[in-house]
Symmetry: D2
Subunit: 138 residues, 4 copies
Amino acid sequence: MKMDKAALAAFLDSDFPQVKDMFTVEAVGTDTLTLRMTSSPELLRPGGTVSGPAMFALADVAVYLTILSQIGPKALTVTTNASMDFMRKPAAGVDLLCETRLLKLGRALAVADALIFSEGDARPVARASLTYSIPPKG
Amino acid sequence: MKMDKAALAAFLDSDFPQVKDMFTVEAVGTDTLTLRMTSSPELLRPGGTVSGPAMFALADVAVYLTILSQIGPKALTVTTNASMDFMRKPAAGVDLLCETRLLKLGRALAVADALIFSEGDARPVARASLTYSIPPKG
Amino acid sequence: MKMDKAALAAFLDSDFPQVKDMFTVEAVGTDTLTLRMTSSPELLRPGGTVSGPAMFALADVAVYLTILSQIGPKALTVTTNASMDFMRKPAAGVDLLCETRLLKLGRALAVADALIFSEGDARPVARASLTYSIPPKG
Amino acid sequence: MKMDKAALAAFLDSDFPQVKDMFTVEAVGTDTLTLRMTSSPELLRPGGTVSGPAMFALADVAVYLTILSQIGPKALTVTTNASMDFMRKPAAGVDLLCETRLLKLGRALAVADALIFSEGDARPVARASLTYSIPPKG
């Protein structure tokens, strides 16, 4: 592991000041990571549900941090593909937890998937799979 | 067509007050729609590029409005699946335009795809395909 | 569980005679299933690798059987969406194993994901997520 | 254009002998291609519909040939991601036509999308988007 929980939190603070209050790294393992998104009125859609773009952001940041935990802070690592299924309405006023699995870490591409849960409910509200392009060494 | 450009703009104002300043309906056709996302510092990532979640939001809202233009304002219409490819870095400080195509409008599911462009550049920065679940008549 | 391993094997024999020799149900659990695709020269691409469409078929049939194990034999259940990442070259001349997870079983839609492995290698060669439309009771 | 219709047909014959009778290149344009899949009992599922894996194969080969038309015959070009929506039941006993658009042709990755039609019907039966990894020059 190149970046542990503390290093990822510091990276989030310095490089993503706009979203650092939304996200908290809960756990980092070998090729896995859990990211919390704090419930907030700004993320809601009419009806009290968390918006799709907010869940996309959660999965995107969670997978990004999962990759950085293995390769270190490479700011040029970018999302090239994402696929999501929105399966259940998230519980209102409850934090979301995103659990990732790094499935491939190649020289040029990394692939991971993720499940998103309303805290306290074992049924996933969404799933995501993302591909990131990793900049070449130079 | 059940909702024209003016009706969609009014719906965006009343039902999505948090994002209404970001988005402008540019054109509505038979099964097509163009949505503008105004350039804003809040949408940017380090490096000056528009964030993936912001582009997801653009595609999501654009397809949502495309479907509503055909079926009228059904607030319970929700995204069930989304797939995106991020292909080029959007130009800094430039509005994004999202052009949609409604490919299927069934009783229960609607499918559309979309291309996103930096204004003034013919090469797409991203593509998206989305499925929406339409609530049954009652 | 509505269909166990023997019932699924019998269904595959009777309803999918063209592919029944390719596939074997290895295990069925609560919301999980493992399907084997027997290695065969017909499935190969130049270079000795299993073709993408063959892996798609494996994931598609595996998820279909996973859903049927829970709801019984509904022949009108059809794939509406599929997303796959091809991550590693499958080993030549080796069976593939597809392990599924049923993530949502709703009245109208079911969502599952799957990992595909070359037998004997713990690194997945592909991942898939699929949505099926379930016909209404009547 | 590096390979025209005749060159692509010859490539299909020599490198894909197992499927050459299924597919015919109908047209090749700048960043577009139309591929025909001849109707055949072997491709059918119970109910007379073309199977999902057969449509996946059609989209996969069509996009592959679209890329080769621009870069020439690079056998190591491989699919890394695919997303498909199956929207309507294909007509029984009718050829399918797949129309592609090359959206990005980078040094390492190419992205295209495709619509699949039953011949004679303007409503698409399926859509696909695919990413291919292009081998580096050596």
